[in-house]
Each structure stands twice: as C-alpha cells, then as structure tokens.
Amino acid sequence: MEKLSLVLASDEFEKLQAAAMMASVAAVSGMAVNVFVTMSAMTCFIKERVDRKDFLKVGEVGKAILRKKAPLYADLLAQGREMGDLKVYACSLALDLLEKPLEEMVPIFEDVVGVATFLGIAEGGQVLFI
C-alpha cells in the first residue's frame, strides 16, 4: 500500500485546509495516510477554538472558505478517517508546551506520540511538511 505522511506545523488556516484535503483524498484513494500535528498547528485543533471557528491566521481564501461554509480541516480529516486509512497523531511536546491534555483537542487523534515514533510510522513513504 502506498504511504503518505504529513507533518502539520503551521497555524495558517489555508495550510491546514490544503493539508487536510490532501490527506483525506489520499486516504479515500487507497493510500495509508499518517498526519503528525505539531508546533503551532496544535493550537488549531483545540476543540473549543474549532467549535467557535476562532482561527488565528486566516487569509483571503480562508475567509471565503468560512463564508461559503466549505468543510473545515478538522471535518475533512474526520471524514478521511471514517472512509479510509487515515491516522492523526498529536505531538507530545506540543501538548506539553500548551499544557493541554488530548481530551481538549478535536476527537480525531489516534494517539500522542513523539518525533521518533512518527519517523518510524512514516518510514519508507513520502512526507509532506506543511
């Protein structure tokens, strides 16, 4: 099975949208997809913020996405998980630094892992860093 891994490090709304589309479409196309959420991207998965649509960095395209009610990154990832082989991992360092438990994040995460674990998971496949 083809394997694709994505590292989400940015809190830019459009980057998260693009990555989530990539990941979900890859998953429904028969690829094994692993997503590692780390650094500032982690803040964009805090459930309370996602529910309030409180996104920090939204550009022109992002505003249109919100205005036109296109599906958001968290929903796209959830859909990819339901319909294909897509797993989302939370970076343990990012959660520690934010002092947040995984329970406060949107419920799409498989597990909390460190970089070494993710490298093992991603080994042998393509990796996109976003």
Binding site: M21, S24, V25, V28, G30, K68, P71, L76, Q79, M83
Partner: protein, 80 residues
C-alpha cells in the same frame, strides 16, 4: 449514437466544494453492488477532473462526463 446508459442512482453534489462531490460519490459507491451505475452531478469543475482520476486510481469505471446546463454529470460504473 452510443447506447442509452441506465443510471441506477443520482448523487446530487451540486453546490458542494472540492472534494465534496468526490467524497459523496465514495460514500455511496461503497454501499452499492458491483454493476451499479451512478451519476454524480457537480457544479465544481475541479471535481469533474478529480472523479475520473480517483476512479482510475481505484480501478472503477468512468463511463462518461456530460456538460449540462450549469453543471456536469459524471457517470460512473462500479466494476469491482
């Protein structure tokens, strides 16, 4: 003229943004028996290119794409 294609079910994804129409198709095609013909209606042009690409990747059949009045009709056959 090509023979008339009998469509079993219409997936109306008009108004949805990419990858909405593709996702709608996938949700429905999974539940259908082999041989089912689905017609996906889309106003999103990207999806009109994306659906045949997905079909090719997963080995399902793209029957045809027709431009209608303000939308496209992508006909798909589940072959496996």
């Amino acid at each position: 003229m090509a023979e008339e294609i009998k469509v079993d079910e219409v997936v109306d994804a008009r108004g949805m943004y990419c990858p909405g129409p593709l996702m709608e198709l996938i949700k429905i095609i999974q539940l259908k028996p082999v041989g089912t013909v689905l017609s996906v209606l889309s106003t999103d042009e990207g999806s009109v290119k994306d659906i045949p690409a997905w079909l090719k990747k997963v080995g399902q059949e793209h029957v045809q794409t027709e431009k209608k009045d303000g939308f496209w009709d992508v006909t798909v056959r589940k072959v496996k």
